[in-house]
Symmetry: C2
């Protein structure tokens, strides 16, 4: 049963085509290098037609960010479905975040652009809501794991702290870490040589700080990571 008319399908496909052409342009030439005229030329449609799909060039970047946001939810869901104790599933979430960061580097560029207030103002609230919903989904996936840990007494929440607030800390640490890694080329100059490993160590330390069992000294982290890569993400 076709829910979409042929016309709608054509529109969808063209939208896809535009995004497909835009992505490498933005990555290669940055926010300023890419222009609507050049996209129009690349996809062989007139500028007016492009503007029928996207009300401004920022809207295209927003759509690209929405695409990658959805990918992250997928990765997180895969990680959360790993059949293991809560603490190990958190390792899987950490791996998901790392895979996302290395696989979809673009996303961070797009995100920074669309979050600039001047860009945000002129872009559709609706598409922002899509991204926000992905954010909420990721949050609730991870908060679910925290709840499981509490239910099985691996973790006792501090007074006045919700599972979501625990997740907020890990989120801040991870996103902050990767954002510094991408921005600051001087990390090795500062004495940090394996930043990705260091981020992982810190997330472990943070969970240890909340006394989340098993503590990281009480299990073989490398082995769990390897296990997760094999069973969850089918790598190696």
């Amino acid at each position: 049963m076709d829910l979409l008319s042929p016309k709608q399908i054509e529109i969808r496909e063209r939208e896809e085509k535009i995004l497909l052409a835009a992505r490498p342009m933005i990555v290669r030439e940055g926010y300023h290098g890419f222009s609507m005229d050049r996209i129009a030329e690349a996809v062989k449609y007139s500028k007016g037609t492009i503007y029928n799909h996207f009300s401004c060039k920022e809207e295209i970047i927003l759509a690209l960010a929405a695409q990658t946001s959805a990918k992250r939810v997928e990765l997180f869901q895969r990680a959360a479905d790993y059949r293991a104790i809560a603490r190990y599933r958190m390792v899987a979430i950490g791996q998901a975040a790392q895979i996302f960061a290395s696989e979809y580097t673009d996303h961070f560029l797009f995100e920074e652009i669309i979050m600039l207030p001047s860009v945000r103002e002129k872009t559709s609230e609706k598409r922002h809501a899509v991204i926000q919903s992905c954010e909420i989904q990721c949050m609730s996936i991870v908060a679910g794991i925290v709840r499981d840990a509490v239910a099985s007494s691996d973790l006792v929440l501090p007074d006045n702290m919700s599972p979501e607030e625990i997740v907020f800390g890990l989120w801040a640490l991870t996103s902050g870490g990767y954002s510094i890694i991408l921005k600051s080329e001087s990390l090795s100059l500062l004495g940090i040589n394996k930043p990705v490993q260091t981020v992982r160590d810190h997330t472990a330390a943070l969970m240890d700080g909340y006394d989340w069992r098993p503590l990281s000294k009480d299990f073989d982290m490398d082995q769990v990571v390897q296990q997760v890569n094999q069973k969850v993400f089918l790598n190696g």
Copy 2:
């Protein structure tokens, strides 16, 4: 003894005047709202003269970010000079970061703009180096406190982890946290109501995770924060 000729002083003053006019314009109207023509009009100099000072409009934003970066170093230095055990001085650093985030909200906007690759390419390496040097100073100030903690046996570094790598974790957590607070308007929707407090709790948990003495359960955090605000930052 005058090291600067009257002419040089005039140039300095004009530069200051330009930056002073630009800052609120950028904050109010964002990266796109502000233009060189409008700045020129505001300071009553011609566009050509503005371009004698700053090679492009992005360079102005870079200069503004450099100003605030220096302010952060000041705050961190003040915090590090607090005469107390290392762990309490870390509380002071946390307060410095919080004061910086609330006092110089602009900085985060400027930083995001200048870090965009397309912006970075066209701005002076020299001014970027100034900002990087501020970053290195902050890092070494905090790493110094970590070293003090190690020296007085309050902290034992994990194998293969340097003081700088410890700082990296706290830096990631704090900057990531404040960046989420600024960007994501949906935090309360996600169940996080006092995010600043939560960031503080997480930094404490992270240090607890490394078993940095005294553990946060073994001293009165609120009291130390209050003490720091009074003695170091002269507030309250």
